[in-house]
């Protein structure tokens, strides 16, 4: 306690950000050139931050593990991006977006940060439109919107089912403009392997050039992590298979607190697992729930084709349980409801682990053309993967690991507990509480990168203007590089039998079975034992052919899995500690008689921020109490 200062500005909620911007310290243009900033990651937050910081005149060095910044996993977001524009005049406002996020997050997010995310959402849409992002439009030429889960307004801007791709390519284009101007230097195919601290401040990184294996030192006045989430702890997830938490985890081990690691979103509408070799679960956008109806047969083990099951023998369980929101309940609610039906024996398909998402009624009402316009590419993708034509029969869907609300703890300025180290986008914990609402990840990542960080980082750098360019010859770089080389050598020298992916797959299964959609004390305790057993096996039986001084993709994977063994342990510890159900964190012991999440506000209205204390030592828990001054804490009901 006491170590955490969220630095929320005083004053009324709606004026906090304006007030902050008016009083934060600034850096004059001539000094900005002399200040260097490292940005890790080129998704919406990283590419956005790099562009905006470059435009301001800072010397930016940007890193990504892919061969091009255009491939960061923001590219795969489908459904849309929220903004409080109220273009539909349906009662939307910044306050309502803020309220929906606070409620959607089950009252476990910080009011000040969330309000600000809602506030900058409108600027984000304006900016992307100006960058040439082709959002969907109405016939009169204005922008179109649609609805997403957990809300009753239409505030989601979209580009067919490829909104993430279009926004990311917009961000990539603004990044390219700064690269051309010389304000940003791009380092693709680099992986950050450690953070370098000098006098307690973040001053650089050790990175590995993934093509040559060379270990590199890069110095800066501040470091920004825009490294995304850790959904791949389940092995099978909607994330890119190379997405990882290593940069954030290394920063954590250097002193950045990790907040609410157990808040992981399981997305309700994904293509179910089809076979044991599968490496990935593909998301089907939540926007489909605008027009698709979710159902299972009313009879257990009904094996008739979906179209042969008459209307009265179908259980539209979301509409039945949640009449007010119906198929558009938030993700955590929809995921658990699907699991509940399948566990009870009503699931469909060979595995019984799937439910129907049916467009029959929407096609009947709106015509095939209209559905094709809205979701054409999603229907095609579904057909490519499964061979099923969803215009003719329902999609089969099941939940899959998707987004991590938890992440590095940051204050209002998006700074971690390490001075000069920032965390933006999905890699931080701040805006989504215990559950994220659809289409708010693109919104938050873009807001953090383009509009928030570039306004808060000055406040820190203003005091750094007298610090000359930092030399990578300093002993701190020397020492950190040595540690990195040793840890790579340690992995290389195990010389066992199995590849990293086999361990990852087994670790993912442990997490999915015991720390997924539903958790309980017994399962979590069992998971801790299993994780440790597997970890021991990993350090005895891993094999990586080749050397670390060359391109070595097995080594890349192994390093990430090694970090996951540590992160999963903390994740389970956090889930054990939180003896309540809230949002995506559902503890079986804490539920209402009708199976809804039961919060314990008395004891758990806090952010759990975990401090690393050393190899094999327990983490220390720091609590940031959450105060709700502008909203009343209610039981979250979508009925």
């Amino acid at each position: 306690m006491g170590k955490l200062n969220s630095k929320i500005p005083d004053g009324p909620l709606a004026q906090k950000w304006t007030k902050y911007k008016a009083s934060a310290k600034l850096v004059n243009p001539a000094n900005k050139k002399k200040l260097e900033i490292i940005v890790i990651g080129t998704g919406l937050s990283g590419a956005g931050a790099s562009s905006a910081l470059g435009e301001l005149g800072y010397s930016v060095k940007t890193f990504c593990y892919q061969d091009s910044p255009r491939r960061a996993h923001s590219v795969a977001a489908q459904g849309g991006i929220n903004a409080a524009k109220n273009y539909q005049s349906d009662g939307d406002s910044v306050y309502r977006l803020f309220y929906d996020m606070i409620k959607g997050g089950d009252f476990r997010a910080r009011e000040g940060n969330v309000y600000r995310a809602a506030e900058v959402s409108n600027e984000v849409i304006d900016h992307y439109t100006a960058l040439g992002v082709p959002f969907a439009r109405d016939y009169g030429g204005t922008l179109d919107t649609r609805s997403f889960g957990g809300v009753q307004v239409s505030r989601t801007f979209y580009s067919s089912g490829q909104t993430g791709q279009q926004c990311l390519l917009g961000a990539y284009s603004s990044l390219n403009r700064q690269i051309k101007k010389g304000n940003v230097t791009m380092f693709p195919r680099r992986e950050m392997l450690d953070l370098v601290l000098i006098d307690g401040k973040a001053r650089g990184i050790i990175a590995r050039n993934l093509l040559t294996g060379e270990i590199e030192r890069h110095a800066a006045h501040a470091v920004v992590l825009a490294t995304g989430g850790y959904g791949t702890i389940y092995y099978l997830s909607t994330l890119a298979v190379n997405s990882n938490a290593s940069a954030a985890w290394k920063a954590h081990k250097k002193g950045a607190f990790f907040a609410n690691p157990s808040f992981v979103q399981i997305h309700p509408t994904c293509v179910p697992q089809l076979n044991e070799f599968q490496s990935k679960l593909t998301l089907m956008s939540e926007s489909l729930r605008n027009d698709g109806r979710v159902w299972v047969p009313k009879t257990k083990g009904d094996t008739r084709p979906a179209n042969d099951i008459p209307e009265e023998e179908r259980d539209y369980y979301l509409e039945r349980r949640y009449p007010a929101f119906g198929n558009l309940v938030p993700r955590d609610v929809a995921s658990r409801a699907a699991k509940e039906r399948c566990d009870a024996g009503f699931g469909i398909g060979e595995t019984g682990l799937a439910v129907n998402l049916d467009f029959r009624d929407a096609i009947k009402k709106q015509g095939k053309k209209s559905i094709e316009n809205k979701y054409g590419n999603l229907f095609e993708m579904y057909k490519t993967i499964t061979g099923i034509d969803s215009y003719e029969e329902p999609m089969r869907i099941y939940p899959a690991g998707h987004y991590t609300m938890g992440g590095l703890w940051v204050d209002y300025e998006l700074m971690t507990t390490i001075p000069g180290l920032y965390s933006i986008g999905e890699s931080n914990f701040s805006d989504h509480g215990a559950n994220r609402l659809g289409a708010s990840s693109l919104m938050q990542a873009s807001g953090d990168g383009y509009f928030i960080l570039p306004n808060t980082i000055n406040n820190y750098l203003a005091d750094e203007i007298r610090v000359p360019k930092i030399s990578t010859d300093r002993p701190e770089f020397e020492a950190t590089e040595k540690e990195v080389r040793e840890s790579l050598q340690k992995l290389m020298s195990i010389k066992g039998k199995q590849n990293a992916a086999s361990f990852h797959k087994r670790l993912g299964k442990i997490m999915w079975d015991n720390c997924g959609m539903v958790r309980n004390e017994e399962g979590l305790k069992k998971a801790l034992v299993l994780i440790n057993e597997l970890k021991d096996e990993f350090w005895k039986d891993l094999n990586i052919p080749g050397a670390y001084s060359e391109l070595n993709m097995e080594l890349e994977k192994a390093g990430r899995v090694a970090d996951y063994f540590e992160l999963t342990e903390l994740l389970v510890t956090d889930a054990l500690n939180r003896k309540e159900s809230c949002g995506a964190h559902f503890r079986e012991e804490y539920q209402t008689p009708d199976g809804e999440a039961l919060r314990n506000d008395e004891e758990f209205t806090y952010v759990a921020a975990w401090e690393y204390t050393g190899e094999g030592k327990p983490h220390i828990l720091h609590k940031e109490e959450l105060k709700f001054e502008d909203v009343e804490m209610k039981i979250r009901s979508y009925k």
């Binding site: 100006a130 030429g141 204005t142 199995q498 094999n543």
Partner: protein
């Protein structure tokens, strides 16, 4: 099913590569093509041999990382999909499958099936953007765009930058890739302002980094996993003529 894989193995850009045979005995038709390669790599690691290097990431057809020549086609024999979406159900028991990297001078081989596609980034850096600083944009509805134009811009903007068009082209031309970006911006009022500078800069860079010209064969369109249309190239040519 059983397959014989003939995979191009090449240590780096400087050494000569060759096809190496791998017998696969337990391929399930339900596997994705890359999962089949995963299982080969698992076996190679267990035998302490160097696994086959290939680029891949999202595995849902949108990041553009993956790409290899499979049986003579970029991204394999099934049209309009990326390698990661290719299913083994499209192959026959006993078949020999030839797997090669993209082959084009501006895309040098890095290792095995990985090529260097930074030439694409260089073209985008030359002019593939609209010059607008963060915070200076007007309200998004202040400029109206006809739905038809916006939809068409979107159809061009969905290019994933995988490089299949270049790999398919006998001239190693990047015209489809460049024209998709030129078209997206040419169709939007926001992009018109810099249209002349953009087309000049991107075409000049495209030539400089070594891509060939277009001779209207259309193999790029036939092999593009996102079905970007050849009409984009016509639009690029029109924009280019207008710029001089």
């Amino acid at each position: 099913m059983k397959l014989l894989l003939k995979i191009w193995r090449q240590k780096n850009a400087k050494t000569k590569g060759s096809f190496v045979s791998y017998q696969m005995d337990n391929v399930s038709p339900e596997m994705a093509f890359l999962e089949m390669l995963d299982s080969l790599n698992k076996r190679l690691v267990e035998e302490d041999k160097d696994p086959v290097a290939f680029d891949h990431d999202c595995r849902e057809g949108i990041c553009g990382s993956c790409g290899m020549y499979i049986n003579g086609h970029p991204h394999g024999p099934v049209p309009a999909i990326t390698t990661c979406h290719l299913s083994m159900r499209f192959f026959k028991d006993g078949e020999t499958v030839w797997i090669e990297p993209w082959r084009a001078k501006p895309f040098p081989v890095i290792k095995d099936l990985i090529v260097d596609r930074q030439a694409f980034d260089k073209i985008q850096i030359a002019g593939g953007f609209i010059s607008v600083n963060t915070g200076s944009a007007a309200d998004a509805n202040s400029i109206l765009v006809p739905k038809k134009n916006s939809d068409e811009a979107f159809n061009s903007a969905i290019c994933i930058g995988c490089g299949a068009c270049v790999a398919a082209c006998k001239n190693a031309s990047a015209m489809l890739f460049v024209s998709a970006k030129i078209s997206q911006f040419a169709l939007l009022p926001q992009g018109r302002i810099e249209a002349i500078e953009r087309v000049r800069a991107m075409v000049a860079k495209m030539d400089e980094v070594g891509f060939g010209n277009c001779s209207n064969t259309g193999s790029c369109e036939a092999e593009c996993p996102k079905q970007i249309k050849l009409t984009n190239i016509a639009r690029l040519n029109r924009e280019y003529f207008k710029a001089y």
